[in-house]
Symmetry: C2
Subunit: 437 residues, 2 copies
Amino acid sequence: MKPINVGLLGIGTVGGGTFTVLERNREEISRRAGRAIAIAVVADKDLKRANAIVNGRAKVIDDAMAVVDDPNIDIVVELIGGTGISKQLILKAISNRKHVVTANKALLAQHGNEIFAAAQKNGVMVAFEAAVAGGVPIIKSLREGLAANRIEWIAGIINGTSNFILSEMREKGASFDDVLKEAQALGYAEADPTFDIEGVDAAHKLTIMAAIGFGIPMQFSAAYTEGISKLTREDIQYAEDLGYRIKLLGIAKRKANGIELRVHPTLIPTKRLIANVEGVMNAILVKGDAVGQTMFYGAGAGAEPTASAVVADLIDVARTMTADPEHRVPHLAFQPDQLSDIAILPMGEVETSYYLRLRVHDKPGVLADITRILADLDISIDAMLQKEPNEGEAQADIIMLTHRTIEKNVNAAINKIEALPVVAGKVTRIRLEVLDK
Amino acid sequence: MKPINVGLLGIGTVGGGTFTVLERNREEISRRAGRAIAIAVVADKDLKRANAIVNGRAKVIDDAMAVVDDPNIDIVVELIGGTGISKQLILKAISNRKHVVTANKALLAQHGNEIFAAAQKNGVMVAFEAAVAGGVPIIKSLREGLAANRIEWIAGIINGTSNFILSEMREKGASFDDVLKEAQALGYAEADPTFDIEGVDAAHKLTIMAAIGFGIPMQFSAAYTEGISKLTREDIQYAEDLGYRIKLLGIAKRKANGIELRVHPTLIPTKRLIANVEGVMNAILVKGDAVGQTMFYGAGAGAEPTASAVVADLIDVARTMTADPEHRVPHLAFQPDQLSDIAILPMGEVETSYYLRLRVHDKPGVLADITRILADLDISIDAMLQKEPNEGEAQADIIMLTHRTIEKNVNAAINKIEALPVVAGKVTRIRLEVLDK
């Protein structure tokens, strides 16, 4: 069969990895795909960098739009990132009836509905395995491998930077700021780490997984996003003492009245497998009604792990590009006219358990006041840890774990507790998930 | 689009689960597949059992061959098991140009080459996600999700019965025989548990994964198979003391001179994620050259988890049945004319580390004799644990962990050590894998 000609837009970390993997595993890949897959053109603004990597093995130009318009190109791989020029390029490639492979989670989470509709209209595929959890084939698993299931929930460690920071904070008893600097020095965190540490990147990925799992449109703007930058080493230690580990989780859950879609630090029982996923690794738990709990684990970022997903998509697209569009796997797992309009729940309606840490004056009756407030709001306590005041201090920490309750009740309780004269400062609130069913 | 008519052969545990899942998730499944998938006929020798489950929602007959010959049936699902009648039925279905979905690992591991060749010749698909690790989409992940990679090794907990027994032995300090009885009472082990506890079932699954991972024919007869029935609670405890957990692993590894294909109890460092997979759960580590280590985890057996895989295959086949055969994913991941003839290595050539337990008379010079034998065979010791003799006994246990070495050297060392007059009885030998790269 004739080889597939690929146009690569952007040859940075992932683009370079894609070039390398396609070259190194050329024989293995064509043994699988039944035809050769070759990068014919690379477009990058930095011609010097691009030429250094490509080294004469493909054409190198600086005009990405020329690749998208090139009639010899069968599949366009977009690895530029961002939501500006990359969106224009992808839409143009689609209107030129070219298939697209992309790792661009920000773009898909925010403009995926428009992009998939255009792809559908033009009979082409937009493949995006690399957009979530690097080389872990979670998109394919959710969309095809678990297609028999009604997906009940998805919970994932899907930001390696945050997970690395939390692992280091726990293992070394270090502060967030110190570990962030270490992560930046190691190249695990960007100079501006906001997207990673404030949960935005995880929310992009969660939005995509939720769309596929539940058959809903992309709704990034409805996702609740809270990062790890306010976590203290004390909370991490108290959680450990209580048998829990704190992870930044992206959680999407189907409820009777809507979908929960939220990213936040989460206490998980230490004995759960996913609580033991450390460093920059990613892992996603998927609960299906037939299969039960499954977990998918691997490197969530990096040149070659992400390239592994990009190239797998290239092989997939190469296999099905001549098939009828109606026989292809739908972009969002469900047929485009079969998406559900079930609403994303506001955060106040979310149901989960809570870790609450309060700093109180060591006086009689303090606990009675606090537990009364909780009881009045129907919040029951699962575990409590009262620390003695430090030498020479008059205030002590109280940590409470609640049973499952509605977030707005917890918010109301926190407001009342903070108003008590015996309570000093703000209540620290971290959500807790048992993930047992 | 016209609905897909499925003929179900065998409605035992997995067949019943398949019927249930297709019914319950009918709407979800057709939203994904773009068409209805319905079981039109069920064939089972036990008409009473079949009718009780089907309850009028499909035709029930006792003649499986009539289903295979029924021109209205598009896909045959074989859930009878075994290698006798099921093989005839599948080959007949294929020659009638029907697609086949099966969970039959024993059949595929032993006769897969013949079956896939027949399917290829007749332009039909034989799908078998359910044959390995129940609902975990490991076949799809290996074949498609990781298709960009040169697979380096696969190591899996792929027999839930064995893993349950090992978990219970460790947690309760119980003997193999006692836990086996418990497992039988709970329905986790068969009345004749040989296939599970002696590693045969795991070797079937490993054979299939190795074929897909490395692009080789099925070679079950070349797999080394050792089960868990000789493991003692003492060895499990000693392993724990040294920081290791014992699991029955199926390991397939690509080496320069061949493929290692082996099932045996294996010490794994306790801090590895896969060491913490407990009970009846399955987990498979896959190491690819681009993606690094990935892990796939979930229920490896049971009615609905296995049905999850059967139904996912039905959806896959329904999607691609009208596509050109040359555009389908090849049965063994690689194009049929592109399989490799790389040999399976004999067990003596396998390279791994070892746990050795010796019972020695507590006399001077014992250790010198033993370590000299090891040194002469180029086997170096990584860790050692010498226990004091129990009160009133003259013999003590010595446990040694070796660095990586070739199995035939260890065999030679064991023979020499057992011949020493100070060594009592046989040396216990359990293989050890660090699984770190």
